[in-house]
Symmetry: C2
Subunit: 475 residues, 2 copies
Amino acid sequence: MSDARFLYEDVAGYITELVDMGTLPKGARVPSLREVSQSRRVALSTAIQAYRVLEGRGVIEARPKSGYYVSNYRPITLEQPAISRPPESASAVAVSDIPLKLLEYGADPRLIQLGASMPSVKILAAGRLGRLLAREARTNVHKHNTYIAPKGVARLRAEIAKRAMHWGQALSPEDIIITEGCTEALALALRTLTQAGDTVVVESPTYFGLLQALEALDLKALELPTDPTTGIDVAALERALSGKNVAACLFASSFNNPLGCTMPDTKKHEILELLASFGVPLIEDDIYGDIYFGKERPRPFATFDRNECVIYCSSFSKTLAPGYRIGWIATTHRADEILKRKFASTLCGPAVLQETIADFLASGGYEHHLRRMRSILQGNMERMIRTVEKSFPEGTRITRPSGGYVLWLELRSKANTRALFDAALREGICIAPGDVFSTSGQYGNCLRLNFSQPWDLRLERAVMRLGELASSMTA
Amino acid sequence: MSDARFLYEDVAGYITELVDMGTLPKGARVPSLREVSQSRRVALSTAIQAYRVLEGRGVIEARPKSGYYVSNYRPITLEQPAISRPPESASAVAVSDIPLKLLEYGADPRLIQLGASMPSVKILAAGRLGRLLAREARTNVHKHNTYIAPKGVARLRAEIAKRAMHWGQALSPEDIIITEGCTEALALALRTLTQAGDTVVVESPTYFGLLQALEALDLKALELPTDPTTGIDVAALERALSGKNVAACLFASSFNNPLGCTMPDTKKHEILELLASFGVPLIEDDIYGDIYFGKERPRPFATFDRNECVIYCSSFSKTLAPGYRIGWIATTHRADEILKRKFASTLCGPAVLQETIADFLASGGYEHHLRRMRSILQGNMERMIRTVEKSFPEGTRITRPSGGYVLWLELRSKANTRALFDAALREGICIAPGDVFSTSGQYGNCLRLNFSQPWDLRLERAVMRLGELASSMTA
């Protein structure tokens, strides 16, 4: 994908690197648009786009009639969290009611939304999607008011299969089952592969919704040490598979929630071979895969799966339509059983919403929308990290994900982010406390911040205020 | 509800009774509109409406300048099926793939739809609903494209609670959880009340979707003898509760699918007391409750529930919007656990569809729509029974439900309705074979017919043809 569309990110990355290395110190003049377009062999318009992005991210600033200069930008000095160290035994899951509350708070317009991992509606193509829905509602009233086949609308399944070609995933529309969001996809996969009392191997920390799905099915969670950049520890996975009776693994392959880590392709191959040798299936959660800040979309496990051991789950909830509740499962592994469970669980989905998403995809607007969204999110992330750096107590660590829209912060060990959660909420700020991302009572000194809200002074002040609260609580 | 709106049904019932009793034989002159309005003390307009309905049902016919006469109408002579006699032991559930196919066939416009229990879109207010959806889609684009609280949109919950007042059910909007159709409501209730291996007591025959829900959860079904008019045998229920470890009962209180039976209120009281004494909860499926042909809507179990033992489930799928997938659970019994499972299962539903249904209810159009729908369905049912009477082999029995839109036919014992299903499908007619409504291999000589399609010659011919096929197969 060294596509023309991504050349401006090349240029932006090049300038950022020069600033990070100190070659271009604060206040230094940045190569002019003409210079950079010549030296990097890109069109002038690409250079203009790159500099606009860099301005947005606060790396450079334009001075009238003079050119571009390095702004207050300086390299981020905060450390990343170390690899996690969860206990080696599986434990029963009992999630608090905080996750439910996060969703309720997420719908409260008075709160500053740093809690739920929900894309701000302002960066979604909500208007266009609404117009397409209105058109479907007006023109196909009769077609839409019936039950449909549990698998879902054929047009949507075809569009999803087409999109997967972009990253080399060979899917047939027939391998796809449309679900009520990724939540239903994961729940159906778990119900098909496990029985009450079984152990499921997960990342640590991991998405609390997964933990709730495990709890609802009386499953045990075995958390693996997870590196904030490269994901799970393969040796620990091997130990887990050898020692315990593991029914399934459940990993997010790209920009996992909350760490933001992405496993390298070599690690994915290794894991798949390991799983094949133990005969353990993998449920893959790829819900953030399309929100990558690098040049290429990471390739999901399913792309490399030669042994039909992967059940791939994703949705449009993080990129386009959280409110439309449309996800999917793509698998040839036990597809009939999954479909039967879909039928018994929700019968079928609403045709009109599935058709609307298919309209959006078929119109070609999705790629454009994703590019815009990624650029905004990457800028937001950089601003949020810098604001944390300014305001949080010494010793705070923070992740540097290459996609998605959440940051994971680790405060000093005596910090209590549940207390921080309560204190912040009293001031109208919602965050996600760290302990809900594990079943082993860890991460009580961590928190997750959603950076999908458009960056503005109000948001910056909220992050600053969080830093003050954290400082006063750990002082 | 001796409301003016129902007076015309009184008059229609009075005339039908006179015809059934032979007081008014075929070809006899029927009292004039003026006569009947005087004798029954109703407005002339009510009499006109009643006679229009009777014409539609084929009971009377108008002769120009002469008045009304009894048409070819004669009382139905077909017997009803006897009370069912399922085995007394619980059995594991393994449903065939026919139910899945019924749903797929149900979306095929080339087939004559007597199979899936889906209201014909032609009798739904699909146009009005589509316009309301288009309006919501245009005007609230941002509001709708977010996750919402798992419980669902507050306005919709308030409208549902208000409607339940009509039949004396005291509900708070806070007791209601919106679900993806009644299917999700029942599945959540089952997941909350049972564990794999448990026994659930059901009617016999019963809706195959329930059996699939039981199968997906590894539950056993214990089927009770069920009378086609008054529902389950209470003595058999008592034996079941005494002898076995029953985790829950799952009954349809009104116009159950497929028998169409409705338990009298006294029986409901008896059952609730029995369940309370054994400490066994009841999952109530009231999905057909609004489609009553009599004067009053039957009152659900939940109305009489003093011990918080009922989990009430319903949806708009049979009356308004099968394609919108909106159902609900109303309960104070274990509501928190149900909500947690909803969160783990589908997170939340699509706001825009919930708001649209709320718009429809708030506009007051729902009652009018229901009245129109009931009148059409009752006429369809009478025509279908008469067509069955003309064309099916001797000894065929058929139910006479007082609501809903399915008929249950019992052919002579050697008949094989799975073979009839295949033969009919080859001729473009879809029916539901009887064996899928039980887990004990019974009802292989039965079938279910959906009478919600607008009655026309094509439909009449299809039913006639079914009768011929059945006759030739049992000859």
